[in-house]
Subunit: 394 residues, 2 copies
Amino acid sequence: MPAGCAPFSQAEYDRRIAKTRAAMAEAGLDAIFVTDPSNQAWLTGYDGWSFYVHQGVILRMEGEPEWWGRSMDALGGQRTCWMAAENIHGYSDHYIQSTVYHPMQDLAEHFTRMGLASARIGVEMENYYYSAKANAVLTEEMPNATLVDATALVNWQRLVKSEDEIAFIRKAARISEKVVQVAIDRAEPGVRKNDLVADIMHAGITGVGDDWGDYPAIVPLTPSGLDATAAHLTWNGEPMKKGEATFFELSGCYRRYHAPLCRSVFLGTPPAEMLDAEKAQIEGIEAGLEAARAGNRAGDIARAFLDVLSKYGIKREGRCGYPIGLSYPPDWGERTASIRTEDETILEPGMTFHFMPALWMETWGLETTETILIRESGSAEPLCNMERKLFVKP
Amino acid sequence: MPAGCAPFSQAEYDRRIAKTRAAMAEAGLDAIFVTDPSNQAWLTGYDGWSFYVHQGVILRMEGEPEWWGRSMDALGGQRTCWMAAENIHGYSDHYIQSTVYHPMQDLAEHFTRMGLASARIGVEMENYYYSAKANAVLTEEMPNATLVDATALVNWQRLVKSEDEIAFIRKAARISEKVVQVAIDRAEPGVRKNDLVADIMHAGITGVGDDWGDYPAIVPLTPSGLDATAAHLTWNGEPMKKGEATFFELSGCYRRYHAPLCRSVFLGTPPAEMLDAEKAQIEGIEAGLEAARAGNRAGDIARAFLDVLSKYGIKREGRCGYPIGLSYPPDWGERTASIRTEDETILEPGMTFHFMPALWMETWGLETTETILIRESGSAEPLCNMERKLFVKP
């Protein structure tokens, strides 16, 4: 791929940069250093599994963004970013995981060459890929600069999706339907969980038609029985058992865009309390979808859902969802708004959330969720088409 | 899994903790707060895809370690850690990805309850899962404590593997052989790369016999042609082409233990310069294996390899490998020693490295690598059994 092979049009990237610069101006920043791989990809198209070493995008108020990272990954930058090769910068390998050198020493020199030695530079203080040490070294190496916390400044610009992005999420949703269907079809007593996950992954990476599958930012979460009382266990080699519920927390991924979709399967005859909870959960989802409309708040979705649960005598704490779209491991959420009662974010058309009204109970767990799109008017559109119920296989 | 279902014996965990405490004593620490998921698993057995929120293991000089994390993940802690339930602590969901609260506020209170308000506490300043913000909040909330950089303190204790760990890595190696064989067998002109990756993943998660496959810490890296000049591109939906080399950077994973193995495939007739480079690379690997013996230094492996390359007139910069074993995304390396000329780490029996003498050239890339075990005497043992060559499919 020559420069220009990033997945979106130049107009789309220009739109994103203009939006980001408006937020930078409001924060009084001369530049931002963007370490979140999702933000890097959103601004420049950069794509590669290289985020385990220090790298980032530098955006000033004018000119093209610059990509900075390990020398061997600068070649990947040239092949995936839309910018000119002169705006892709590599640092030497002796900085990599060294006990003596730190890549932020190179970045400080680069900032100085860019005329940013005394600038106000936004950094993502709360990010997996901007370590406490990185911040300490950069602060020390740039005594005249002011590093300002710009956590999620770019993430917030991603909250309302463009038509092009929604098209990508719809493709991911087709893949999500496929992988969840595979999980439901394959779940049987005696099937080893890892064999089932192998089929899920195969289906997800194969994709649907010409829409090839990318890797989701979270691996399949597929716990059964008591393991399903915990939210984030993955899988093991144990055979599935009669009398247990298993939840499948999965997402298709199309060119880094996600559409998470969870369903649960019970092998055998579910206990009455699980069926009662299922009823409450599904009615609660419907209430949540009704509340998920432009002009309402993110918290309204949670309240609508929780009110139904209360009616059924079910107490639930914690978040009920988060925005989704472009993402890299370890999280497919965007880490801005949350679907929880105290969140005051006003819903706008084009926002996409994983509405995640899962129930983790004392002895079992039940996940039935939807990726939803806030519309111009009316209730939210669930982007996946998958029967909303506990799948029972007697 | 009840408490005690961690994958290793109590004696093994006790050994690890004793080793870690010796390093803590040397550093004058009262406690460490371990955020690296690999270090958490190594000390306690904790396993789950929950590292995208703040969590960690607290180890003092006496008593059981404590696991601290999100409430819903504390249930996962009870199901995967070997410690008593009273040593698994959960914080409330209102701290999660909040713009108002930070989980380190809860951790500071917990430290205080533990009597650590004025302690010297080691933190992993250079880690994906200890953000700049986490460090800033913890520092502010604990004015009387001294936070000390203990980056890689635990990682260094992991460098020499126990017999039990080596047994796990050998199982991973069987899976690695299988996935690389699938890649070689399936590579043909016209095969979409994602379809090939789907088969690789299926084989890896299926595992070998009773040894079920876990997710590797890095997804398959499978670039072809010019994309293979960059080190860390993943895949897309393009069909493979005649006249191109593709490298496969893969690893099997058995219960979070890795044994990376890379091989390259050329479809058609390789150019002479690639065959010359292959010869140099393979002779260089043999020289590296000879140098990889107890008492030598990590740098000696790199020197032996690079000397052979020089003889053939090939200039190569950068690292040639790193220690491997237990790991979580985004990196399967241990981030301590490196196989590079300046590294003075003395090799000891039981160390395991991914010896990674890849060549990324101007118009193509060639990866032929080995996971190696340093033995009591003699040259290193390659843990995978896979012909060491460029695989040519005319």
